[in-house]
Amino acid sequence: MAVVELEDVTVTYHTPSGETRAVEDLSLTVESGEFVSIVGPSGCGKSTLLSLIAGLIRPDRGQVRVGGVPVRGPNPAVGYMLQQDHLFEWRTVLDNCLLGLEVQGRRTRSAVLRVRRLLKDVGLGDFAHRFPAQLSGGMRQRAALVRTLALDPKVLLLDEPFSALDYQTRLKLEDEVSHILRTQGRTVIMVTHDIAEAVSMADRVIVLTHRPARVRREYVIDLEPRRSPVQVRESPGFSRYFRDIWRDLDVQV
């Protein structure tokens, strides 16, 4: 079943110095439980796509549907995780993770318990009452993930979620996050500029063209048996996907 559908979507930004067409006649569909990665040259309109799905901006033309319903604004069924963690320095880790629930008036005792359990799952159980300044980069991004998962979204949008982290931490977090999201059976759309990250984590990789973004090519990643992203990087098929996608992107530069 299709959970996210974009149909001939066009987005234009207007600024005093001119207009920028970020997305043009783009269509894509994401199935329930699927993990899709979107790669493309920087500035091609990847974040714009996620903002569309999150209901933060409207298309000029075309339609965006989540769960079969046209998107009219921010939707509790969609969770958005940005490149930086954007934790509020004046809130404890727990209070940061409860932010979305608070905004939606759903901060109940059972919700708090659930969030505490999530924190424990990502290894932040002992840090619930610390402030973000006391956490490492990897821990902060884990907290940001919990903040997103706290709302129990059907669809998760990740915008270059690991790009601010060092290599070691990134690999480790890719493994963890991929494990958590797959166990929970979430539908995930992850934007990244890291081809290896895209191939190792996703079921399907969508390569976009230069701005304005259109779908250039799609790859169904078939590297069974599906193991952790770190292990996938070692499987023989991996480098082939990597090379093909790299060539797709390289051609355009």
Partner: protein, 271 residues
């Protein structure tokens, strides 16, 4: 260094030296004050300087004791402190309100901007006669002076802080479906707390200035009134005494504000 393995000899020496240095600074500060006071007193007694013009510490002390005994001291001190606090509260509250409204309506913020620039640059003391005519020669004119001098700075400081809120933090909240009011209360306002505390410090200082200026102009009580009155009747001891009282009062208030600020910073996990 972990706490369990004890403190090394070198670290103990470092700490001891640090303590000695702090002690030396404090001792010198006290000594400096003492030397100045003694010089002042001796200078006045030995007629190196004219005590009629510069007064002298013992006379100031006697004056303050006399005023305290007559009950005058508390009347004047109380009037000035009360007006300063009221002016400070009004200016801060009004500034916060206007800055919030400007954040709420970017259109009006743009409209009002040049007016704020003009108001900010005009010397507020020049408005004194207007306040007297409009509000009468009473405490309202003094308060108006205190508010006038502090409110524009507050508006500008807070509005700037509001506007500098990380747009991505606002985006995050909007993705949760936050209303504009929630964006304001959850990120814009709490994010501006450090600026608010800085504004409070500035405002306290400006409220003293405004109050004293107001008292120069209209009042029949307060330290500003005593200073002007003392100057007019050439009672420099009265002037000096009032200034000393003002010094003490403003220092105490400043320390209170400073302590509150540090307390809040600790609460927010920043200290």
């Amino acid at each position: 260094m972990s706490r369990s393995d004890g403190v090394s000899e070198a670290h103990r020496r470092y700490l001891a030296q640090r303590r000695r240095r702090q002690l030396a600074i404090f001792a010198t500060q006290v000594l400096l004050a003492a030397v100045l006071l003694v010089l002042w007193e001796a200078g006045a007694r030995e007629r190196w300087v004219n005590p009629f013009i510069v007064s002298q510490p013992t006379r100031i002390w006697e004056q303050i004791v006399r005023m305290a005994a007559a009950g005058e001291l508390w009347v004047h001190l109380g009037a000035t402190v009360w007006r300063t606090m009221a002016g400070f509260g009004l200016a801060t509250g009004l500034g916060l309100l206007v800055a919030s409204l400007l954040w709420w309506s970017p259109f009006w913020a743009r409209v009002v901007d040049p007016y704020l620039v003009v108001l900010n640059s005009v010397p507020k003391i020049s408005l004194g006669p207007l306040f007297i005519v409009w509000l009468g020669t009473n405490v309202r004119a003094v308060l108006a002076m205190a508010v006038a001098i502090a409110v524009v700075v507050t508006i500008v400081m807070l509005y700037t802080a509001f506007r500098e809120t990380d747009p991505n933090k606002i985006l995050l909240l909007r993705s949760f479906g936050a209303t504009r009011w929630q964006v304001f209360t959850k990120v814009v306002l709490p994010g501006a707390v450090p600026t608010l505390l800085a504004a409070v410090k500035v405002n306290i200082g400006l409220a003293w200035v405004g109050t004293i200026m107001g008292e120069f102009l209209v009042s029949g009580a307060g330290l500003g009134y005593l200073i002007i009155y003392g100057g007019q009747v050439f009672n420099l001891t009265l002037v000096m005494s009032s200034i000393v009282l003002l010094l003490i009062a403003s220092t105490i208030v400043y320390l209170l504000v400073d302590w509150t600020e540090k307390y809040i910073a600790r609460q927010r996990g920043r200290a």
